[in-house]
């Protein structure tokens, strides 16, 4: 078993050494760009797979956001879905007909088509998608700070429980905001259980033509891909900055970090804010892609789903998290559907997609047993998890050096 693992690992390393890192980046980027066309060539009806891939792009961004909070700063967050909800509602408010009375019923249009496809006026607020995603990110970041602030003194399990509660509270608030929010005013912010639909389609600021998904998927795939690339860039830069170092320091030892002049409050709030911002960023994208903002999407299972991507992929490692997100999301959106006929063949009557969480749970279990640091772990996390073994080593070496010194003195 272990020799097999070692062989795989050495093969993987030698494969990686084949090309310099930048060349691998180019290869993967080229693959990602050509991906929709590759599907066209390989598969007769690629739309299902491409549709799943586009959602996956959104999930990658969220997993990378959660990775800042959990992987870098070490703050276990079980309520990440709250930020998905907030980001989605921002585009629900700024890119739909949810507020029909604004501007005397004529609506507000900022770089979006003023008429519907059928030529009628569009009431409501309609701001171009490429602005809304950044507004959503900023707004969600503020909520990241607001929700993070009360949890600052908590650690471990306690932190997890409080964040879990936030993940439950936020969607309930939206659900009940059909007549004012927090009981203030009478504006309908959410449409209750029906949710906000339709959401504006993406259009470039310089063009009046909206994208035509779900009929035409390639353009929206590229928008998602561009967002993912932006987020990867952002994450990498943060990881290698003074803030990234402070996050790891806080994760490793809060007391020591504080004694070294790291402001714990500020450092943790930045992690919450930036992690949340990416949740909102992706939330707005997924909302326009799925064409609806509905409270039913924002359930606890979603937080767990994103967290599993981070854990299975490799907490703290950007590439590992991306891999985890792709694996779980593609399995959820596409892979399991392919297995739907299987239980029948064994005379069983159930739907594979309906036990998806059972299947993810199984994978999580297998990962925890065989490879607790994830598929592609960060170097640091791996060390943390295997510290006991290595520590024994250091002690042995230490004892030897002391023996040596004793002899030396004699």
């Amino acid at each position: 078993m272990s020799t097999a693992v070692a062989t795989v690992r050495s093969n993987a390393t030698s494969l990686r050494r084949l090309l310099p890192d930048w060349a691998w980046a180019v290869v993967f980027l080229a693959l990602a760009i050509l991906y929709p066309y590759i599907l066209d060539v390989l598969i007769a009806s690629p739309d299902d797979l491409l549709d799943a891939s586009i959602s996956t792009l959104g999930y990658i961004i969220m997993a990378l956001g959660l990775n800042i909070v959990v992987g870098f700063a070490g703050l276990l967050d079980l309520g990440y879905v709250a930020f998905y909800a907030i980001g989605a509602f921002v585009i629900g408010w700024l890119g739909s007909q949810q507020f029909p009375d604004v501007n005397g019923g004529k609506g507000i249009h900022i770089l979006t088509p003023a008429k519907s496809a059928f030529g009628s006026d569009l009431p409501g607020i309609h701001i171009n998608f490429f602005f809304v995603i950044f507004i959503a990110a900023a707004f969600t970041a503020i909520w990241g700070v607001i929700l993070g602030a009360p949890t600052l003194r908590l650690r471990g399990d306690y932190l997890a429980i409080v964040t879990l509660a936030f993940g439950e509270i936020v969607p309930r608030i939206f659900e009940n905001s059909t007549s004012g929010i927090f009981g203030i005013g009478h504006t309908d912010f959410s449409n209750g259980r029906q949710g906000i639909t339709p959401i504006d389609k993406i259009n470039f600021p310089w063009s009046d033509t909206a994208f035509k998904y779900p009929l035409e998927l390639k353009p929206v795939y590229y928008v998602g891909l561009a967002m993912v690339l932006l987020v990867i860039f952002f994450n990498r830069r943060l990881r290698d900055s003074r803030m990234g170092r402070a996050w790891i320091a806080v994760r490793e030892d809060e007391v020591a970090a504080a004694a070294m002049g790291v402001n714990l409050v500020r450092t943790k709030l930045w992690a919450y804010a930036l992690g949340a911002a990416l949740g909102g960023f992706a939330g707005a994208f997924l909302a326009t892609y799925t064409n609806t903002v509905n409270v039913d999407q924002f359930e606890f299972g979603f937080s767990v789903f994103i967290l599993s991507m981070v854990i299975i992929g490799g907490m703290g490692n950007i590439w590992g998290v991306i891999l985890g997100a792709i694996a779980l999301s593609m399995m959820n959106r596409y892979g399991l559907k392919q297995l739907n006929g299987v239980p029948e063949k064994f005379g069983l009557d159930f739907d594979v997609t309906s036990i998806n969480f059972g299947i993810f749970g199984f994978f999580l279990l297998v990962t925890m047993v065989l490879r607790p640091e994830g598929i592609l772990p960060s170097r640091r996390r791996k060390l943390e998890l295997h510290e006991a073994e290595i520590e024994g080593d250091v002690i042995a070496r230490e004892e030897m050096s002391q023996l040596y010194d004793v002899r030396h003195e004699q």
Partner: protein, 267 residues
Amino acid sequence: MTEQAAQALPESNGAAILEASNISKIFGGLVAVNDVSFTVPERGIVSLIGPNGAGKTTFFNCMTGLYRPSTGRVVFNGRDITAKRPDIVTRAGVARTFQNIKLFRTMTSIENVQVGMHSQLRSRLTGMVFHTPFNRREEKQSYEAARELLRFVGLRRHNELAMNLSYGDQRRLEIARALASDPQLLLLDEPTAGMNPQESEELRKLMESLRSERGISVLLIEHDMRVVMNVSDRITVLDHGEKIAEGSPQEVRTNPRVVEAYLGSQA
């Protein structure tokens, strides 16, 4: 002896850089530190000794903001730092090491020291993300400064993870990390614990060069009496949370209460 005294005296005659007055710390019914007053003169090396459980580390923690003292005041450089957050105390110029080494174990030596510089660095989010010239210069400078500090404490393995360093090197790295915040006062909590005699001697030299080369005052908790007696201008002795003696190494060594505290009244 006379040569040493002649060297030490002019350096330690400065005004007090740290003044702790009437510090008490009570945990529930336990009085860990009882009404202790204490000063560290500028450019002085002062030791705090006492049997295990005497309240030395608690006293340290009260001064660095990890504990809020139940009573008393801590003034550093004319500034009241009583019960201020640890990072504010560090920013004010007090750095410390820990009795049970608290390094960032999965970071390299250089990264550990760079975290110590955190409060000195000014890069903002935009700088970090877009690598502005300012950010790039700052990162480069902090990297160079970290290497310089590691050389100063005599640690050669700059890119080794902290957890893989030997015990003595970990102690050294802790000192380098504390120095990175550019302190005026360095608090060392049992720095020679686990070191062999040769390493202890190197550390003693290091403390003296801190004072002579960098003008840093040192407050030391230490059990190794050879180090304490050789390096200290003044020694304060705690027992059961109370100050039982204070004075030059010679005075403390011959003080009957100190002898009693260490060896028991039978001795």
